[in-house]
């Protein structure tokens, strides 16, 4: 990568994906709280410019009504459109749980395949901004547990762009998880039009000694730890799942079959989290091959705290990932 490689900010990447999707397909409509330009184009400006460019029939600021927002997306999708609805923060998706769990996830199956729900629901979350217990939760395990939903999250702007495009044009309901701190980050710009396939993980850093399976905000700390441990002769392979459900079992199993050691790391609470599902699968499939018990890194079982030092202690980081890796090395 040269120093002239073009970088792109995450918000710009998401915004670009939305605009391109809307340009490609007149069935793509966008709505959510404050998303239109008169309302500033979104709380994080992800939808900025869209209503001006595509009109207010296709881009709408909604009332504060998560059930109605999710329901409108579901119904419009059933009538052949590709709605991209925003639920401002992941915690607020709880208000729309009936729509998402009892309807979006289940209508294809319950209708015997007659109705489809090709919606994308964007929702943002993450610690680090002192937003406390109701504005920072990672709930991907809840969504992943619902057969019929796809759950996706990015760790860099190019993947944000590519995954969002894939979700919009996917025929199943997709939960697209954004991260607050990621909005201020930049990275290599995506190749225009290049979608990231759903269900495919990225081996962000190859390594022979231990596999770290991670996603979203935990990818960066994993890479830093990998760099540090390389200095000690330990090669850490970092896999960014990109899709949480359905996760890329093939890539993960192949990696852990080679390394024999695995750490799963996510910002979400450790107990009953995505790591538990992956760890269980690894021990079922690779029992005789594993050189150490599978380790999981996640947040403690408490609501996200307000006070800054508590919030910093809550979110797992390099220290926890490093400790988990060392534990597998015995």
């Amino acid at each position: 990568m040269t120093s002239e490689a073009k970088n792109m900010n995450t918000v710009v990447a998401l915004n670009t994906a939305l605009a391109e999707a809307m340009e490609l397909d007149s069935g793509v409509i966008v709505f959510g709280e404050d998303v239109a330009d008169p309302e500033d184009g979104g709380v994080a400006y992800v939808t900025k410019g869209l209503s001006t460019r595509f009109g207010d029939a296709r881009v709408r600021s909604t009332p504060i009504s998560e059930q109605a927002i999710a329901g409108a997306a579901i119904g419009a999708a059933m009538a052949g459109m590709r709605p991209v609805a925003e639920i401002m923060m992941m915690n607020f998706s709880t208000v729309a749980m009936d729509m998402l769990f009892n309807h979006a996830a289940k209508l294809r199956f319950m209708s015997g395949g007659q109705t489809r729900v090709p919606i994308t629901i964007r929702m943002a979350t993450g610690t680090g901004l002192s937003t406390a217990g109701q504005h920072a939760d990672y709930l991907e395990a809840w969504f992943a547990h619902a057969a019929g939903l796809k759950v996706v999250t990015y760790a860099n702007p190019a993947d944000a762009y590519g995954l969002l495009l894939s979700c919009i044009f996917d025929d199943d309901p997709c939960i697209f998880i954004e991260n607050f701190l990621s909005y201020g980050q930049s990275g290599p710009a995506p190749v225009p039009g290049q979608r990231v396939p759903i269900g495919v993980a990225a081996v962000t850093r190859p390594g022979r000694d231990v596999t770290v399976v991670t996603y979203g905000p935990q990818v960066a700390p994993a890479l830093k730890v990998a760099e540090k441990l390389a200095g000690e002769g330990v090669q850490v392979e970092v896999i960014d799942l990109r899709t949480i459900s359905p996760w890329d079992k093939q890539t993960v199993l192949a990696s852990v079959a080679r390394t024999g050691r695995a750490v799963i790391s996510h910002e979400a609470v450790r107990a009953f989290g995505v790591g538990a599902e992956i760890a269980a699968t690894l021990q079922e499939e690779l029992w005789g091959t594993l050189k150490a018990p599978v380790r999981r890194v996640g947040a403690p079982s408490c609501p996200v705290p307000y006070s800054r030092p508590l919030e910093l202690a809550f979110a797992p980081g390099e220290a926890q990932v490093e400790a988990a890796i060392r534990a597998t090395l015995g």
Binding site: R58, A68, A147
Partner: protein
């Protein structure tokens, strides 16, 4: 309410056809359950036949409905075919949903029956979405959301009505007020003199109508559907009615006022309308008796066909969860 004109003879007779189809289907359904031939959770619509019959003659096949678990009348009035309906009730592979949805999730897009939901209130936000698509596409379709009086107290009702009004969606909210939300009387649960009053809060027309009067129901439905189709926005219709067979079939409704119930059953709207049609010269006894016989046979045949149909293969568990 002022009724401008009586519908033409064909429409009047068609409304009766739908009503008697629903009534007879219900009678045969209760019989097949009581005989133990089909163990099924069944929410009888008996007593509420007029509402969807009068609404549906104002809709085209392309228009959409969303209904709820007490929705067999809504489905049949919209045109969901008997054979596939019964096969689905019986959980067979030939059902509308390959046996995977059952009575609470009957879906038949070809007749516009886009959603049956088992969750009180959930028909409305999704009806809004169908209407939103029509609005963006400009295809002129109208969506009807059916729900009960109990549903007017759930949050989704308020969110959906507000959004539909703000966006002037081509949707008609038809509340079938049978005076009981599950086992509890309206007066005990609802802080509104009448549900139609809630429309004022959402700046849309709120119309209370005798849902058992076919002409009044037809007129109210026609006005609301035309308004929606013209892009003028939603209407809340509160159609008063009564259910004859409890909340869920098997429920002996001890919580109901016995006199209220027997009075409602004595005023059964279906035979009353039948008598009116003949007396007004819109149909003859022979014509209607013939129609009833034919429908009765069709229903009976659909039931037998369903009970003889194959079960879905276990492999269906893994189909239609996600796209192929």
């Amino acid at each position: 309410m002022h009724i401008d004109s009586v519908p033409d003879r064909a429409t009047l007779v068609e409304m009766y056809r739908k009503m008697t189809l629903i009534k007879q289907n219900d009678e045969q359904a209760r019989k097949v359950i009581m005989n133990g031939r089909l163990p099924m959770i069944y929410y009888s619509p008996r007593g509420q036949e007029v509402i969807p019959s009068a609404v549906s003659v104002n809709l085209t096949t392309d228009d959409y409905i969303c209904t709820i678990y007490r929705g067999t009348h809504d489905m049949l009035a919209k045109g969901v075919p008997l054979d596939e309906l019964w096969a689905e009730l019986a959980g067979r592979a030939t059902g509308t949903c390959k046996g995977k949805g059952g009575p609470m999730h009957i879906t038949h897009p070809a007749s516009g029956c886009m959603l049956t939901t088992g969750i009180v209130g959930s028909s409305m936000p999704i009806a809004n979405g169908l209407a939103l698509a029509s609005q963006v596409k400009g295809d002129g379709r109208v969506t009807v959301a059916y729900f009960g009086d109990g549903a007017s107290n759930i949050g989704a009702f308020h969110e959906a009505l507000n959004m539909a009004a703000v966006w002037k969606l081509p949707v008609v909210f038809v509340c079938q007020n049978n005076r009981y939300g599950e086992h509890t009387r309206y007066e005990k649960t609802t802080a509104a003199r009448q549900i139609a009053d809630r429309a004022v809060g959402y700046q849309m027309p709120g119309v209370r109508v005798d849902g058992n009067d076919p002409l009044a129901m037809h007129a109210a439905a026609r006005t609301a559907i035309e308004r929606a189709r013209a892009g003028e926005g939603p209407t809340l219709i509160e159609a008063m009615t009564f259910r004859f067979h409890g909340h869920v079939f098997g429920d002996m409704d001890p919580y109901m006022d016995k006199d209220e119930k027997s009075a409602a059953m004595a005023a059964d709207p279906v035979p009353r309308y039948r008598a009116w049609l003949i007396e007004q010269g819109h149909a003859s006894e022979a014509e209607l008796a013939d129609m009833e016989r034919g429908l009765g046979q069709q229903i009976a045949q659909a039931i037998e066909k369903a009970l003889a149909a194959p079960w879905p293969d276990v492999s269906e568990l893994h189909k239609d969860v996600l796209a192929a």
